[in-house]
């Protein structure tokens, strides 16, 4: 039947590059073949197809674009099973091939002045397949994300052909599919953007800062187009995004090559892997020498020039060159190794993870089954344990499914830095490390916005202007480094800038002025820096477009803490500031110690247990007959009996027969009394069901190995509770000190 082959034809057509003669011929052949083999095609229709293939094969490359669009229209008519007609498109006149099928093809075919079209809102074709359209929107968005990443790569390496091709392909595919779906304007705009890129690819146009701007703006514009199309899927008119006309005009000018070459100013981000930079970084030569040599002989490659001037030994230059090419290779690899993926709804994924958890429990119950164990059936036992292995693998896999790399977030930030640095006139080199570090998707979502805020903040407040930097002997381009790595069961994200650092005096003065602190009281650097997280706090002298409105850092801290993370600042005046976010790997999985108290079991997060021990009677002392304390290495800690706090019956009463767990931190440490430790488990933390809400002292529940629910203890709240309820203040601490 012709249907599948028609789909294949459509696919071929979409991917066809108008400049690709071989591809065009292949498409024409495939088209002819399906015309031959498909039954029931009227003679007139066959002639139309042959005319079309003729046109595709024989038209000049410059006109092929229009021919292909007409071919698309023909294909579409074919798919519907209507009689086919071929109208040769011509460059000057409108070519309404099958007007009903593609209402925009006319517009597509004529290079009409833009002004005429903008006013009339375009509507989606009546018979457009909405599912197809949605797929198109999603796929195009993905492709644009890839294109944007590639564009940013071009920032540092303008000669990266692979990146240019990625962008080109993205624009081209959007164009082709859009034309196929009858989205004339989108397709047309994509065409303009594509032409720009094709010129870059063919080296007809140098990839300058201006080109970069245009390309990025085009990507944005395409995204807006897609948004508009999405809105229009419910039948409302398809509105043209604002500024399309201007951008289209700019693209035309740029593609025609009339645009005066924009001098790459100092403000433009520098290519990271320049030979001179590598040599300077390695300490082989100093920057001044490199610049001097380069100025003297601009035509000679830098490495050669340096060796000729005896400025650097041949060996080092060769090494640097190797490093450079390696970096380039690495960069290329990074673009090509994007993993294939499909989209799955989150609730399905969560359900799957829940089910796998249940499967693990069910499997454990079979293994522990007494009848099975006593039956002596070796074969069955072996099969059960084999199934168990698979189940465990499945569990590991399901746990990893929610994990996503930080890369998209980092890429978004790279774009942000680029835009901000241009707007603020500060040259910024943005470095990222560890962008493949994986985090739970929820976590990534939770920190994306705070990170944006922090980056803005660092750029605006942290980094100085190029003039200031030069005056203080720094490179004129500031460095903003974002790195992520695993450390101790958590993910650490660091944002470092080499700017002016936090000004302790300024913060103190501001805080005192706002009445946040008592200026007479001495404060540690940590405490002073923490003030910038106070609501309404900003030390920026000016409120700028970027930040400095005094809202922000408090929101950042709240969001990070909401994701169970912490944020730290370290800063050296004149050398920069580092923000360090420490985040749990996932919101859901907790490493916990299962403890027994009477007839109940609880889970205590392992991270909050510092030590557990069985106290000897001499270690225990009491205050006023009630307050129980334990002396550990000269330190006195209050004992909190978990069974009393939670009113559990059947627990051990004697402290020296129980176990004490040292939990909490700083001056909030307590010794939590439990009966037994039952072992360490990785548990999936769940809320206790919305019906029960939040219980003081508990952070949630988890399904244990036997299928029962275990409750997870919130150590911080236990500490608070133990101080005579949640509202307790510092009172009891005074008592403790008196005894100690």
């Amino acid at each position: 039947m012709p249907q599948p082959s028609l789909d294949e034809l459509a696919l071929l057509l979409m991917q066809l590059d108008p400049a690709d003669d071989v591809g065009a011929r292949r498409f024409a052949e495939a088209m002819r073949e399906s015309a031959d083999t498909s039954a029931g095609l009227a003679p007139a229709s066959i002639i139309a197809v042959l005319k079309c293939t003729d046109a595709v094969e024989n038209c000049p490359a410059a006109d092929r674009e229009m021919v292909l669009v007409a071919a698309g229209t023909l294909l579409e008519t074919w798919m519907r099973g209507d009689p086919l007609a071929w109208v040769t498109p011509s460059a000057s006149a409108a070519a309404p091939a099958a007007a009903a099928a593609a209402p925009t093809s006319a517009e597509e075919a004529k290079p009409a002045p833009v002004e005429e079209e903008v006013e009339v809102p375009e509507a989606l074709a009546d018979d457009v397949d909405l599912d197809l359209l949605r797929d198109f929107i999603n796929e195009s968005r993905d492709m644009l994300v890839g294109a944007e990443a590639a564009l940013l790569q071009l920032e540092t390496d303008p000669t990266n052909d692979e990146a240019v091709n990625t962008v080109f392909r993205a624009f081209h595919t959007v164009k082709g599919t859009a034309a196929f779906l009858g989205l004339g304007r989108l397709s047309k705009f994509a065409h303009k953007a594509e032409s720009l890129l094709s010129q870059v690819r063919d080296r007809a146009l140098t990839y300058s800062a201006h080109t970069a701007d245009l390309a990025l703006q085009s990507a944005d514009m395409l995204r807006e187009f897609l948004d508009a199309v999405e809105i229009a899927t419910d039948g409302s008119p398809l509105l043209l995004p604002e500024g399309t006309r201007e951008l289209t005009a700019e693209l035309e000018v740029a593609a025609s090559g009339k645009q005066p070459e924009v001098v790459v100013s100092d403000a433009a981000p520098l290519p990271a892997a320049r030979l001179g930079d590598i040599l300077v970084d390695r300490g082989v030569v100093d920057r001044a020498t490199v610049e001097a040599v380069h100025a003297e002989e601009p035509a000679v490659p830098l490495g050669q020039a340096l060796v000729q001037h005896n400025a650097a030994p041949l060996k080092d230059v060769a090494q640097a060159l190797r490093q450079q090419s390696q970096q380039q290779k690495q960069a290329r690899q990074e673009t090509t190794t994007a993993a294939d993926s499909i989209r799955v709804r989150t609730d399905r994924l969560d359900r799957l993870i829940d089910m796998v958890g249940e499967l693990v429990i069910a499997q454990a119950m079979i293994v522990a089954d007494e009848e099975l164990q006593q039956s002596g059936m070796q074969g069955l036992t072996r099969k059960v344990s084999m199934a168990g292995k698979i189940v465990r693998d499945l569990q590991d896999l399901s746990m990893s499914m929610r994990m996503v790399p930080l890369k998209p977030v980092f890429q978004k930030l790279a774009r942000l830095v680029r835009d901000l640095s241009q707007r603020s006139g500060k040259a910024v080199e943005f470095q990222t490390h560890g962008e493949d570090t994986e985090l739970d998707r929820n976590m990534v979502d939770a920190i994306a916005d705070p990170l944006v805020h922090m980056v803005r903040n660092s750029l605006d407040h942290g980094l100085e202007t190029p003039a200031e930097r030069t005056a203080s002997g720094k490179r004129s381009a500031g460095v903003l480094r974002l790195s992520a790595y695993h450390a101790g069961g958590a993910v650490v994200i660091e944002l470092h800038d080499d700017g002016r650092g936090l000004n302790r005096e300024k913060i103190l003065a501001k805080a005192a002025a706002k009445g946040l602190i008592d200026p007479a009281k001495p404060m540690s650097d940590q405490d002073v820096f923490a003030l910038i997280f106070a609501p309404g706090f900003s030390t920026a002298d000016q409120v700028t477009d970027i930040s400095g409105r005094g809202v922000g850092m408090d929101v950042v801290r709240r969001n990070i803490e909401g994701a169970r993370g912490t944020i730290e600042i370290s800063s050296t005046a004149g050398q920069g500031t580092t923000f360090r976010l420490r985040l749990p790997l996932t919101l859901a999985i907790t490493d916990g110690m299962l403890v027994r108290v009477g007839n109940e079991r609880y889970i205590v997060p392992t991270t909050s247990i510092q030590l557990s021990f069985r106290p000897s009677p001499e270690q225990i002392c009491t205050v006023a007959g009630k307050g129980e304390m334990v002396v550990l290495r000269g330190e006195t800690l209050p004992i909190v009996r978990l069974h009393r706090l939670f009113a559990v019956s059947g627990a051990r009463e004697r402290i020296d027969e129980s176990l004490l767990m040292l939990v909490g931190d700083g001056d909030k440490r307590i010794a939590l009394m439990v009966d037994d430790l039952l072992g360490q488990h990785q548990v999936v933390a769940k809320s206790l069901g919305q019906g029960i809400g939040r219980i003081d002292g508990l952070s949630g529940g988890a399904i244990l190995g036997d299928g029962r629910v275990g409750l997870i203890i919130d150590v911080g709240q236990i500490v608070n509770l133990s101080r005579n309820g949640p509202s307790a203040d510092d009172g009891p601490r005074g008592d403790r000190r008196a005894v100690a």
Partner: protein
Amino acid sequence: MSTTAQPTASQKGEHAGKYLTFFLGTEEYGLKILTVHEIIGMMAVTRVPRTPDFILGVINLRGKVIPVVDLRIRFAMDVTVSQDVCVIVVQVRGIQMGIVVDRVSEVVNIAAEEIEPPPSFGVDVPTDFLLGIGKSQGRVKMLLDIDHVLTGTEIVQAASAVAGSASGDDASPAT
């Protein structure tokens, strides 16, 4: 669902429909069938500290943690242990919750004219958790306003208070 404590006569028409009936002690109660999610056997319940008595604790409903309420304790009735005790899982305003009952009886259709407004016994016997009294097949069934019963326990309110800042776990919300 009605949120008024005392449904008026004009409202009782809207209460007509299918009810799942069950026993608490010797009394028969009815739950609107649409609020019932499923009926499961009694299972191991994990007691949750610092909650009212009638909240028995939480159970594992196929990977989901849901609270279980014992209406017998809530209504200060005698708690008996028997084979027939089971848990009716209800879903109210998107929140799942288990209700322990002595025995599930049947599903009956109760017409509007078979429903009478809840009687008034004065302050000693609160009846505001009833939609009405249904009479079907010669037996009297107390039709529970489950929304109100659970709201009355104040746990639903507590839940909505923390819903916004609910601990990061999103595995539990009902689909």
